[in-house]
């Protein structure tokens, strides 16, 4: 168990390391001048040269990458023209745009995206697995057909349509909910939940369709297993069979998919964040890509990558917990 975890963590670090190199190389080759973008439209060549120097844009790629690693592990000093700014150990550098510490930017944005993703996950699991369970049990009936139709409609509708609809109905028309604005969990948990409710619902509606289908097919497969037949032959009630025997066997694919979705949501929730005015990582990523803000891009990509990798490690641990035949080696 412990050696397994250590090995997985080491593997994760390696993945993130390679990821950072790839991002660095890509943005080095990308056309466009970050200095020009940072300096603004009315920038004379002199200022531009100064900015370039400040941002160390003229250093060759390996040197810049070396500085990045240095910042990450021992911290780094930046001169902002007049003063020197020290950036402590896990330092992703300064944003090209506004000289803000990237670490700070991330720590502001991460809780927003994490709230969104984790909350939505809980909701879509409840909706999706529940729907899947129902339609597996009532297969062929009217319930199943209605549920199938719903889940299909859910998958087919883009998030901005569902999101807009929800906003229109619940905020503008019925006025049951406030127009979402992020309130940190630590400040006011109740307000946090109320404000997040609509974004969660929008994401969950879309994702749950997938989970409903997966749960249904996986459950139907398990229900056809021989050991289910055994318990039927011993008079165990259908509800106990599904709850105690079938569901457990149907869960592994659901766990695996959840891990993938959750991880990728960290970097791809941009639409939802924009729609509901949530200052999350997705927004930050899009903005920084547009301005070739390399330190920010690298940081967001690494955080997202870490989320994917961690989610998968957790999924594997859960996998082993549900099925004792799985040994982690």
């Amino acid at each position: 168990m412990i050696p397994y975890l250590l090995r997985r963590v080491a593997g994760a670090v390696l993945v993130l390391f390679v990821l950072s190199i790839v991002v660095y190389a890509m943005f080095y080759a990308v056309p466009g001048d970050p200095a020009k973008l940072a300096c603004g439209p009315r920038c004379n060549p002199e200022q531009l040269a100064q900015v370039r120097d400040q941002l160390r844009l003229d250093d060759p790629l390996p040197v810049r990458y070396w500085h990045f690693l240095q910042g990450l592990f021992v911290g780094q000093d930046f001169s902002t023209g007049t003063s020197v700014l020290h950036c402590d150990a896990p330092c992703f550098g300064l944003s090209y745009q506004n000289d803000q510490q990237v670490t700070e930017l991330i720590s502001q944005r991460l809780p927003v995206t994490a709230s969104l993703a984790l909350g939505a996950m809980v909701l879509w699991l409840i909706l999706g697995v529940g729907t899947g369970l129902l339609s597996a049990l009532r297969r062929g009936g009217i319930t199943e057909r209605v549920l199938t139709w719903f889940t299909l409609a859910g998958t087919a509708t883009p998030v901005f349509i569902i999101g807009l609809l929800l906003l229109m109905v619940f905020c503008a028309q019925l006025r049951w909910l406030p127009f979402p604005s992020y309130v940190p969990l630590t400040e006011n948990p109740e307000q946090w939940a109320w404000n997040m409710l609509l974004p969660w619902t929008a994401l969950a509606l879309i994702e749950s369709a997938k989970y409903a289908r997966l749960t249904r097919s996986s459950l139907l497969e398990t229900l056809a297993d021989d050991h289910i037949r055994t318990f039927r032959a011993y008079g165990v009630s259908e509800r106990a069979i599904v709850g105690r025997h079938a569901l457990r066997g149907a869960l592994p694919p659901v766990i695996a998919l959840t891990a993938l979705d959750l991880g990728s949501l960290f970097g791809s929730a941009m639409l939802t964040e924009t729609l509901f005015g949530l200052p999350g990582l997705g927004q930050l990523l899009v903005h920084s890509v547009r301005t070739i803000d390399l330190p920010v891009v690298v940081a967001v990509v690494l955080v997202t990558g870490a989320a994917v990798v961690i989610a998968n490690i957790v999924a594997d641990l859960l996998y082993a917990a549900t099925d004792r035949r799985v040994t982690l080696t």
Binding site: R229, T230, F231, A233, Y234, G235, R244, R248
Partner: protein
């Protein structure tokens, strides 16, 4: 006489006319089937005019011709029987005969599956088919408990065995606490001979051996104190020695608790040693019934005689028995639902096409009866005129390990053997003895971990894939499961052509011509080239597997349990085909099987494997008639014998606990 074809439709009207009624000399158990007997004390099981129909597959209408319009396939057709309290009835028949369907109907396990059951099924005075769901749940387990064929897949892999038994116990004992149920689980596990039951009850099924799993399932049945135990092929997935122990356990429990036993099996030997009465089923109907000894020693129906004749016997050397001239019922039945309508009469019985070849006409002429041909090596030696056929294979000190470091297991350990052209070496052993690993190494599907593997004087043990290529066509393999070893998405012709294409020597049209020739050679219609595996019966699929192995003109074929998935009659045909091919082509065969009787039929020499080693090797008759190694002796002793009154089961009953560990 010709084989009777079973038609799924049109039988309902004449069902009563064709039902096998009680005849003279039959025992009393089925005399009670008549309605006039209703006032007599209720038997434990009374089945009257039971029919079970399954909805026909959708594709059926497209592929089959006339008469394919039937909406249902009738698996059981107007069957009646009774079972007295405490008695044991065996239902035997080949796969597809409907025997398991009957067993399932006793608990109405067909409910909710789309199958339609009609007739009367009464178990311990309760009407099963008309019971509401709650009443049916009380019958299931509480009155009649079932033991299934595959004990691994029949237990929940995620839960501890004790918890599973406790759960079932609490279903039937509402008042019982969790602790009491758990204690009961340990008690019954202990009763069925699980050592250290309290501790092992916390194990999950994968931590048990096959025999222990079946004991656990029996314990589950026992926990509810049922009046009837329904055992559906309870020992089919087990080795002979374990099988003997499980049968002994069943007999013991029956004597102790007085419960009735309904044993469903395809193995006449198993039935012979475990039941009082026998009911032979074919195509959903009873063909013959009566006391087990009477049916087995003096069968009245031709089908029963054919079934008995096809059973290979471990106690007789090959060629001892005269062929019994009876029709082959083997494969026609199962095909009825799929291809038989348009296909010519199944090729296993009649020669396809216009030019019957040796094997096909042979099969048609003699039917399934009679043992396999005698030692082909002798015939080959005579035919070739050579004093000593070429030495093909020399294996010395061969070894194979799996897993690394701590998890290392030795599957094959220091095995040495030789094989000449035209010779058959039988390899027997129980599951896990390393026989399949050995076979795979010989055709180099696996690389040996050590030792030498010489084929025609050349060491091939350590060769890389590229260097092995010239040998690939000469070393071929026939696999156990004819279903799983054929690609369901490729036509059988393409599957057979694959090794020819891989060899790359022939052009496209030449390959097709050769494949057609091969199909004919193994007794299939060449025009079936474009058909897919699911259209064929098990025996036909195994013929395809053999044709594929023959395609590259091999000199040595390793047959890994080639007949263990087949019915006895089909098994006899496949064994005969292999023998014919060997005589004709001078093939060297390695015949791997757990079935001692089949190995005796086909082999010149036999090697007995245990724990990765060969414990005894020699001429077949010598090994069987005068086994030297104690393990060989215990293997032979565990084989259930068909004939006579002796019941070898009880002899091994005492070894029970020792072998469980």
């Amino acid at each position: 006489m010709s084989a009777q074809r079973w038609e799924p439709e049109g039988v309902t009207t004449e069902r009563n006319a064709t039902r096998v009624g009680p005849g003279p000399g039959q025992n009393a158990t089925e005399a009670a089937t008549g309605p006039e007997q209703a006032s007599a004390p209720e038997p434990l099981v009374r089945v009257e005019d039971l029919s079970v129909g399954f909805p026909a597959a959708d594709g059926g209408a497209a592929t089959s011709g006339p008469g394919a319009g039937a909406a249902t396939v009738r698996a059981v057709d107007g069957l009646s029987f009774t079972l007295e309290p405490g008695a044991a009835l065996g239902i035997v028949g080949e796969s597809g005969s409907g025997k398991s369907t009957v067993a399932f109907a006793l608990l109405d396990l067909h409910r909710g599956t789309g199958a339609q059951a009609s007739g009367v099924v009464r178990v311990a005075g309760r009407d099963v088919l008309t019971a509401d769901d709650a009443a049916l749940r009380r019958i299931r387990g509480g009155v009649a408990a079932m033991v299934f064929q595959d004990p691994l897949s029949s237990l929940d892999p995620y839960l501890a065995i004790g918890d599973q038994i406790a759960e079932v116990y609490r279903v039937h004992h509402r008042g019982a606490s969790r602790r009491a149920a758990r204690a009961r689980a340990v008690e019954v596990l202990d009763r069925v001979g699980i050592p250290d039951a309290a501790r092992r009850s916390r194990s999950r099924p994968h931590e048990f051996s096959g025999g222990m799993r079946q004991r656990a399932l029996i314990a589950m049945a026992l926990s509810c104190e049922p009046r009837l135990l329904i055992a559906d092929e309870p020992t089919t997935a087990l080795d002979v020695t374990v099988q003997a122990q499980i049968l002994a356990l069943l007999a013991e429990l029956r004597a102790e608790t007085g419960m009735g036993l309904l044993l469903v099996t395809h193995d006449l030997g198993v039935a012979a040693s475990s039941v009082d009465d026998l009911l032979v089923m074919r195509a959903g109907r009873a063909v013959e019934r009566g006391p087990v000894n009477a049916v087995l020693s003096a069968p009245r129906e031709p089908y029963t005689r054919a079934l008995l004749a096809a059973v290979p016997r471990v106690e007789q050397a090959c060629g001892d028995r005269a062929p019994v001239p009876v029709p082959a019922p083997a494969e026609s039945r199962r095909e009825a639902g799929t291809t038989a309508e348009t296909a010519p009469e199944p090729a296993t019985e009649a020669a396809p096409g216009g030019e019957p070849k040796a094997a096909a006409s042979d099969a048609a002429g003699r039917g399934l009866a009679g043992p396999a041909p005698t030692t082909a090596a002798a015939a080959y030696r005579e035919a070739s005129g050579a004093a000593e056929p070429e030495l093909l294979l020399e294996v010395a000190g061969l070894r194979r390990e799996f897993g690394g470091r701590r998890a290392r297991t030795v599957a094959v350990d220091d095995v040495s053997l030789t094989l000449r052209a035209g010779e058959t070496l039988g390899v027997v052993g129980e599951s896990g003895s390393g026989k399949t690993t050995l076979g795979r190494m010989i055709v180099r599907l696996l690389e040996p971990s050590g030792g030498s593997l010489r084929y025609r004087g050349r060491e091939i043990g350590g060769l890389r894939e590229r260097q092995l290529r010239p040998f690939r066509s000469e070393l071929q393999m026939v696999f156990q499961d004819p279903v799983a070893s054929l690609n369901p998405r490729r036509s059988i012709g393409e599957s057979i052509a694959d090794p020819l294409r891989a060899a790359g020597r022939l052009t496209g049209p030449e390959i097709v011509a050769r494949v057609r020739g091969l199909l004919e050679r193994v007794g299939l219609d060449p025009d079936w080239y474009h058909r897919y595996p699911h259209e064929f019966s098990g025996g036909q699929r195994q013929r395809v597997g053999i044709a594929r192995a023959l395609a590259p003109e091999p000199r040595l074929i390793v047959c890994d349990e080639p007949v263990s998935a087949l019915d006895v009659t089909t098994q006899a045909q496949i064994v005969r085909l292999l023998g014919d091919l060997q005589r004709e082509l001078g093939l060297a065969l390695i015949f791997i099987a757990h079935d001692l009787a089949v190995v005796r039929q086909v082999s010149d020499r036999v090697a007995v494997m245990r724990g990765g080693r060969i414990v005894e090797e020699g001429e077949t008759d010598a090994v069987y008639d005068d086994p030297q190694h104690p393990y060989t002796r215990s293997l032979l002793a565990a084989v259930p014998l068909l004939a006579g009154a002796e019941r070898p089961v009880e002899a091994v009953a005492t070894e029970r606990v020792e072998a469980v560990v």
